[in-house]
């Protein structure tokens, strides 16, 4: 008998059960959604999904790590999170269809004013589980399949390409990385799996939007992107409409492998409702002459902690991070980026912009590290904060660790306000005070917005205008 130990024995028992009693089909398995987290829940999640053993073991190992790891003591205040008061998995079919009447008025109003179509509104509010984009989705899938591109939700990816997933899954962000990466590893569900074959340039941004009817907006999404040599893909995550969630914790993990000569751009615009803790670990590895670009926008949530990283593995690798954060009343956006120069002649750039308003707090927390021996590296960090009133706050914590002499590292930080002179100038042309403020803010985020696909850029500007409303007494 194999020396697999207890897990193997357990598996044996279950197989026996399946054969004897036919309990193996998920349809017949009665999964009772309940709050709280233990081994049983994790085993059930894996069982329900019909996962390979290695994934089940990966989950259980991650769970142990999650229990052992302390909460981060730096960054935002997380003391109000109650891990026992969360549903970690709900069977898709059992997902409670919420009544439209229960959706808060301000969310509905936002949809109205953003001009979100009726069908999408219900989906985004968690009312309808289906989104009528199936036809569009299938046409796009056909187009991608012809080029050999895989674009699936993570659960399907694991089912259809178990070997490919196993090779990369959890390799960049292991469960030991941090408490929330461990949590995600234990209970992940949904997310996106993308593989782009060598030399293929995907000619349209791949958007979660197109497969919104798949289960992709879970609390614990897991995304894995592999861009093979000399390929290119732009992935767009999230949308500008408020994602209303009664779940208070969103903890995702994103891992991206950018092979030699490839380029990946990952754009995020997140606008979680303001009760959500958004704690996300995003990391990419860029190999020889590869380029990784994070475009990261954080508008909503109660607390966001997110520091997308690029590991620059081989010479010629380039990492970029362009982020904005908008912190309004009761919000703390603790965000930034990490560039880890592991090889000589690698380059990186971080541009971080934040806006604080109505007592909101934004924090830039960043790291540039150059490993000994990684000579000839260049990195530039720019942090610009715009503070709209005296109740709001912005902090900058840039950390630079350089183990090599022959490098060029630059850091610039600025804090600005909308000045009386700017307001007077804009108002002298007929803009009222609110329009003037919106104009200064939209100019401030312009370097970010112009990197977005057109339709997102338009929505982003509208969204900022909405956030700015009522800011003038």
């Amino acid at each position: 008998m194999a020396t697999g130990g207890k897990a193997d024995e357990l598996r044996g028992i279950r197989e026996d059960y399946e054969q004897k009693y036919g309990f193996h089909t998920p349809e017949e398995y009665v999964f009772k959604a309940r709050k709280g987290l233990d081994r049983e829940i994790v085993e059930q999640i894996s069982y329900m999904k019909g996962e390979p053993d290695w994934m089940r073991e990966f989950r259980l190992r991650a769970l142990d790590i999650f229990f052992k790891k302390p909460m981060p003591t730096w960054g935002a205040d997380l003391s109000e999170i109650n891990f026992d008061d969360i549903y970690y998995y709900i069977k898709p079919a059992d997902q409670q269809v919420r009544d439209w009447d229960d959706v808060p008025e301000y969310i509905k109003e936002t949809f109205e004013r953003l001009g979100v179509p009726e069908a999408e509104r219900k989906f985004l509010a968690g009312v309808g589980a289906q989104f009528e984009s199936e036809v569009v989705y299938h046409n796009i899938q056909k187009h991608l399949e012809d080029q050999g591109v895989i674009f699936l939700d993570m659960d399907s990816g694991l089912r259809k390409y178990p070997d490919l997933v196993k090779e990369y899954f959890g390799k960049l962000v292991p469960p030991t990385d941090n408490k929330f990466a461990a949590l995600n590893s234990a209970v992940w569900s949904g997310g996106t799996f993308i593989y782009v074959p060598p030399g293929v340039h995907v000619d349209m941004p791949l958007q979660a939007y197109f497969r919104i009817n798949a289960q992709n907006m879970g609390q614990f999404e897991r995304t894995l992107i592999i861009a093979d040599e000399d390929s290119y893909v732009h992935y767009v995550e999230g949308c500008t409409a408020v994602i209303y969630s009664t779940d208070s914790l969103h903890s995702a993990v994103v891992e991206i492998f950018v092979k030699p000569g490839a380029r990946v751009r990952y754009s995020t615009i997140q606008n979680w409702s303001n009760n959500v803790y958004n704690l996300v670990t995003k990391r990419a590895a860029a190999y020889r002459d590869a380029t990784m670009e994070w475009i990261d926008g954080n508008i909503g949530s109660k607390v966001t902690m997110k520091y997308p990283a690029v590991l620059l593995m081989e010479p010629g690798a380039h990492g970029e991070m362009l982020s904005i954060a908008f912190a309004g009343r009761g919000q703390h956006q603790d965000a930034g980026g990490k560039m880890i120069h592991l090889a000589p002649h690698t380059t990186s750039q971080i541009v971080s912009k934040s806006i604080s308003k109505d007592g909101g707090r934004s924090t830039y927390r960043g790291l540039v590290r150059v490993r000994k021996g990684a000579h000839g590296c260049r990195s530039k960090v720019t942090c610009d904060a715009l503070i709209l009133d005296e109740h709001s706050r912005s902090d900058t914590y840039p950390v630079i660790e350089v183990g090599e002499q022959d490098v060029e590292i630059g850091h610039e930080a600025s804090v600005s306000r909308v000045t009386e002179e700017q307001l007077f100038y804009l108002m002298s042309r007929g803009l009222d005070e609110e329009q003037s403020n919106v104009m200064v803010v939209s100019g401030f985020i312009e370097p970010f917005v112009k990197e977005l696909p057109m339709e997102y850029a338009v929505e982003m500007n509208r969204l900022i205008a909405l956030q700015m409303e009522g800011s003038v007494g």
Binding site: E420, L426, G430, V440, G443, E446
Partner: protein, 261 residues
């Protein structure tokens, strides 16, 4: 009926210091006035007060537009009535293109008249902006640059005149539009203003030097000293200042330091 800007016995303080000491002045649509005076005489204070800058406090007197007091109106409301100020130091708004800004300003005006207004369409706006730029002989690439961000002194002043052309106010105040310009830039800016002047525009040119008046010909010249207009006359008054400087004005009307409020 032509619009009228009327300033009556205006007393204005800034940070507790009285700067304007009883200014009287009337500018009608179709007229060109020059307001001259030495540095510190209160010219820019008058311009900023007319436009409603919050730091300038009216202590006494009134500003009327078409017979109605505008003292209670905010800056944007005054702008939408038809007042315009070309700034001495135009302010940079990074990330906002000249075109986007002008379009937003046009739409703000339209919506103030009719809240249901959908705004000027993009093709219509492009046509309008192109026509104005042709008129002022401006390079089209101005439209896509961020407003006053990294502009040279001359470029800033030209964009002020472009805004003047596009927004079509009734009364425009040009605050030291000639300062910081070399002679070519000055000529171009002045020609722009001349091209716009006519029966539908009243202009108040504020200047320290006479040289802009070689290009823009005022019908009326006023001299300001210590917060009051002390002499008014025709175009020849400017030449007298050019010849004799401001010393004779000081000797005749000077009273010493500005008073506290």
């Amino acid at each position: 009926m032509s619009a009228t800007l009327e300033i009556r016995n205006l007393h204005v303080s800034v940070e507790g210091r009285l700067i304007l000491n009883g200014v009287n002045l009337t500018v009608r649509q179709g007229e060109i006035h020059a307001l001259m005076g030495p540095n510190g005489s209160g010219k820019s204070t008058l311009a900023n007060t007319i436009m409603g800058h919050p730091a300038y406090i009216v202590e006494q007197g009134d500003i009327l537009f078409d017979g109605q007091s505008i003292l209670d109106l905010k800056t944007d409301e005054r702008a939408r009535l038809g007042l315009f100020l070309a700034f001495q130091y135009p302010v940079a708004i990074p990330g906002v293109t000249v075109a986007n800004f002008i379009r937003t300003a046009i739409n703000a005006r339209r919506r103030a008249l009719d809240p249901q207004d959908k705004g000027i369409s993009i093709p219509e706006f492009r046509k309008l902006l192109k026509a104005k730029m042709d008129f002022l002989q401006m390079d089209y690439n101005f439209a896509g640059r961020y407003l006053n961000d990294g502009f040279s002194g001359g470029e800033k002043k030209r964009v002020e005149v472009l805004q003047l052309a596009a927004l079509e106010p009734k009364i425009a105040i040009l605050d030291e539009t000639d300062s910081g310009l070399d002679i070519d830039a000055l000529r171009i800016v002045a020609e722009g203003v001349n091209a716009l002047a006519g029966p539908s525009l009243g202009v108040l040119v504020i200047t320290h030097y006479q040289r802009i008046l070689n290009y823009i010909k005022p019908q009326y010249v006023h001299i300001m000293l210590e917060g009051r207009i002390v002499e008014s006359g025709g175009a020849d008054m400017a030449l007298k200042l050019e010849e004799k400087g401001y010393d004779w004005v000081r000797e005749k009307y000077g009273n010493g330091a500005p008073q506290a409020v």
